[in-house]
């Protein structure tokens, strides 16, 4: 009987970001429609909404596929993901004209400037969060789905 382990890995991967997405979406909606921030947030929302959860699913499928060959702990496997997500987000932001490169830092929506030093801190924060999320949350869903 085929128990479809890769489908379960995909489901285990997308569960956490799908739940977090509610928080992200709420923040975006509040900023745009309640606080009337005059920036085209809807142009940028496609990245956290569509790409991130699917990438989690595919990344978890890759983890399952790699496991017999080399056993990298799931937390470290998850911590590699920001190295793909950060440049992808940057490339999409440039393509959608929501992100610009300047000498003092990155400018989001032509209004929010974030210095490069702060970008580095944000990236390290991302690594830590992804490590912990994959170690505890994605691993938990994998165990629930019988692939942990």
């Amino acid at each position: 009987m085929n128990t479809h382990p890769y489908v379960r890995a995909y489901m285990g991967g997308i569960a956490t970001p799908t739940m977090v997405l509610l928080i992200v979406l709420t923040a975006f909606v509040l900023a745009r429609f309640v606080f009337a921030i005059p920036v085209p947030i809807e142009r940028a929302i496609i990245f956290p909404m569509a790409i991130v959860p699917n990438l989690f699913g595919v990344w978890n499928m890759l983890y399952l596929w790699l496991r017999p060959h080399q056993h990298l702990p799931i937390g470290l496997h998850g911590a590699i993901l920001p190295f793909i997500l950060a440049p992808s987000g940057y490339a999409l932001g440039r393509a959608l004209n929501v992100l610009n490169l300047q000498s003092n830092g990155l400018v989001y929506f032509q209004t929010l400037t974030v210095a490069y030093s702060h970008m580095a801190i944000a990236f390290i924060f991302g690594l830590i969060v992804y490590y912990l999320v994959w170690k505890y949350f994605v691993a938990f869903f994998n165990r629930v789905l019988g692939i942990g």
Binding site: F28, V52, L85, V114, H118, A122, G126, V129, L132
Partner: protein, 71 residues
Amino acid sequence: MTSGDEKLQEMLKHAIGPAGTELQRDLWPNMLARLQEKSTAVPWFDWVLAAVALLALLIYPHTIPVLLYHL
């Protein structure tokens, strides 16, 4: 049921034999061990990492929109 069917049924019963409906061993000790199993404790290193991440967020709150977009 025809006599042929009855004969076939008998032959099948004879060939396969009775199914083992009794448990081979007591499963309750395993269940008790599972219930008493302690949940995995979070190592101190992970607590430190979580604290560092939270501290960074408190010190640099303007990076939150960046994180919401990229992560």
